[in-house]
Subunit: 309 residues, 2 copies
C-alpha cells in the first residue's frame, strides 16, 4: 500500500525528545522526568465497558482497522465493542488481535503472562491482556519492587542485581534485588513470594517479611506506546549472612552496594533501569538520606514519584 | 455602601460542600479528600515579580481596591505592582495591607511570624508575609511535622499531643508530637530544634536525630481562603524512658498510643487535626502497616498525599 508506512514502523516511533538528554542524567529529578516523558496529544482514549482502560497512539489505530467486530472507533476515542459483553469475551477478542499483531511483526511474541486490565487498582478486571501488548494499548500495569538491604556498622547496604544481557528491556542495567510485573490472578503477596524465589532465591517465609512501604506511579511514552505504571514498593531487611541467588536467568549477578554508592550512581549516571532509579530515590527519601534543607529538588522528587495516572 | 457585603463576611465564605461529610470520616481517604477540597473557579492568580505566588478569592478582591499603589488588577489576575521592585518594598507594602485588613476586622490579628513567599520551595523569597494573611492570599506555606514514636515489644507506639483548648485552629484535636509552620529565615532543621524544644521539650541533640522521611502536599479551601500547604515529615524514634513535655502552652497534654489505636481513630473519626491525619496515613504506609492487597484505597492514599501544587 504505497504511502502508508509499515505497521512495524508505525509502532516504533520515538517518544518526544527530552531536555536534558535522558541518557546522561545530571541529577535525581532527571530520572523522574524521563519516566514521565510523554506527549498525550498523540494518544486517544481506549474504553471497555464504558470505562477508560488505556491510551492508544493515533497512528496505531490504522493497525486495528481490520477488527471492526472488536473495536468501535469514534472521532476521538476507541472502544472495545459492546457486543463483547463479558470479561471472557473481551479477553478472547483481544488475544485474537494480539496474535495478528505478532503475525504482522508489530509485536515480537507472546510473553505468555496475562495482565488484568482495570480502570483502577483493586477493581475487577474488565479483561486480560498479554503483557507484550500492554504499552500498545496504554493500559495501566502494576508491579512489585523489593529493596533488599542490610544494616552494617550503622550504614545501609543494598543488594543490587545486574539484569541479564539477553533481557529485551534494559539489558545489563542495575536492578532491585527482586522486581516483577503483576500477573492476573495473583495477590501482590503471592507475586512477591513467586518473584522472590525466582529472582533472588528467597524462601517464602523470608519473602513475606518484606514490608509494603510505598507506591510509585509514572507515565512514560516509549517507542511502543504508553506506560502508565504503578510500582508497589517493599523494603526487606536481610540477615547479614544472606546473599541472593538468581534462579530464573533474569539477573546475571548480585552485588552488595553501600547506599552512598547507589545514591551517587543514580544521581550521576543511567546505570540503573529507568524505573528502578525511582525506587531508589523513594528509598533515599524514606530512609532520611536526602535532606529537604540541602537537596534543592527534594519536594519535586517527593511529589514527582507519585504522578496522578 | 448598599448592596456590598461586609468585608468580614466576604472573607468568611464556606468552602464547597464535601460528600461524604468532612466531620465524620468513614475511612482514610476522606481525610485526603477533605484536605484537597477546593473550588478553584472562585480564585484568581496572584503574581509578584511576574511569578505566581498565590490565589485570591474573587470576592476578596474588593477588599484590596483601596490599594491601587500596591496591586495591579487585570481581568483574570492580580499582581503586586512592578513599582515595588525589591523584596523589602513588597514586604513593607504587604504589611501595610495586612494592618488595614486587621483594622477592618477581616483578619483577627498579626501572628507576628513572617512566612517567606516563594513560587517553589527552595527559591528566594519574593517577599515576607505575616502568617495570619497566608490563606487570604493563597500563598504556599510550609511546615514540619515530627512523628515521635518508640518500639515496645515489637509494636510501634506514637506520642500524640492534644491541642490546647484556646488554639484558634482545631482546638482540642489530636496532633503530632511536634508540628509547626516554617518561618522565614530558618532552615527546616533550625525550626525542628526550635519547635522540638517548645512543643515537646526535646534537647537540640535529640531533635536533630529526627529523620526527614516524606513531604506531604495538599490544597485546602477554608472560610478564609486557600491553603496550598507542604508538610515536611520527620520520624523520631525515642528512647523508652523519654516523655515529651510541652513548654509553650500549645499542647495541653501528651499520651502514648498504640499504632493500632492511632490508625483506627484516624480511619473512623475526626479526632485528629485535619492535616495530622495525613501525616499519620503517610506513617502507616511507610511503616508497612497498610497492605496494598487488603486496603482498597492504598494507591489512592499513596498518591493522594502528594497532590501537585
Amino acid at each position: 500500500m504505497p504511502g502508508m508506512p509499515e505497521p512495524a514502523n508505525l509502532a516504533r516511533r520515538a517518544p518526544p525528545a527530552l531536555d536534558p538528554p535522558a541518557r546522561f542524567p545530571s541529577g535525581f529529578l532527571d530520572h523522574i522526568r524521563r519516566c514521565n516523558n510523554h506527549d498525550m496529544g498523540r494518544f486517544c482514549r481506549f474504553y471497555a465497558a464504558d470505562t477508560q482502560v488505556g491510551w492508544i497512539r493515533e497512528d496505531f489505530l490504522a493497525l486495528l482497522a481490520d477488527f471492526a467486530d472488536v473495536f468501535d472507533v469514534s472521532s476521538d476515542s476507541i472502544s472495545l465493542s459492546d457486543r463483547l459483553a463479558t470479561a471472557e469475551e473481551r479477553t478472547s477478542a483481544m488475544r485474537r488481535v494480539v496474535r495478528r499483531l505478532i503475525d504482522d511483526g508489530v509485536l515480537a511474541k507472546f510473553r505468555g503472562e496475562d495482565y488484568a486490565i482495570v480502570p483502577q487498582w483493586g477493581r475487577p478486571a474488565l479483561f486480560n491482556l498479554d503483557r507484550s501488548a500492554i504499552p500498545l494499548f496504554g493500559c495501566k500495569a502494576f508491579g512489585i519492587h523489593v529493596n533488599g538491604y542490610r544494616r552494617h556498622q550503622g550504614r545501609i547496604q543494598l543488594w543490587i542485581g545486574r539484569r541479564a544481557p539477553d533481557k529485551a528491556v534494559e539489558p545489563d542495567k542495575l536492578d532491585n534485588m527482586v522486581a516483577g510485573g503483576q500477573p492476573a490472578g495473583l495477590t501482590l503477596e503471592e507475586n512477591l513470594v513467586k518473584e522472590g524465589g525466582e529472582e533472588a532465591g528467597l524462601s517464602p517465609a523470608l519473602a513475606r517479611q518484606a514490608k509494603p512501604v510505598s507506591a510509585i506511579t509514572y507515565c512514560m511514552e516509549n517507542e511502543r506506546g504508553l506506560k502508565p505504571d504503578t510500582l508497589f514498593v517493599y523494603d526487606l531487611e536481610l540477615p547479614p549472612d544472606f546473599a541472593p541467588v538468581n534462579t530464573d536467568g533474569e539477573i546475571a549477578s548480585f552485588s552488595l552496594m553501600e547506599l552512598d554508592e547507589v545514591a551517587e550512581r543514580v544521581r550521576t549516571t543511567g546505570d540503573f533501569k529507568f524505573n528502578v532509579a525511582l525506587v531508589i530515590i523513594d528509598f533515599l527519601i524514606r530512609h532520611g538520606y536526602l535532606s529537604p534543607d540541602r537537596e534543592p529538588d527534594y519536594l519535586a522528587l517527593a511529589t514527582g514519584l507519585h504522578a496522578p495516572l
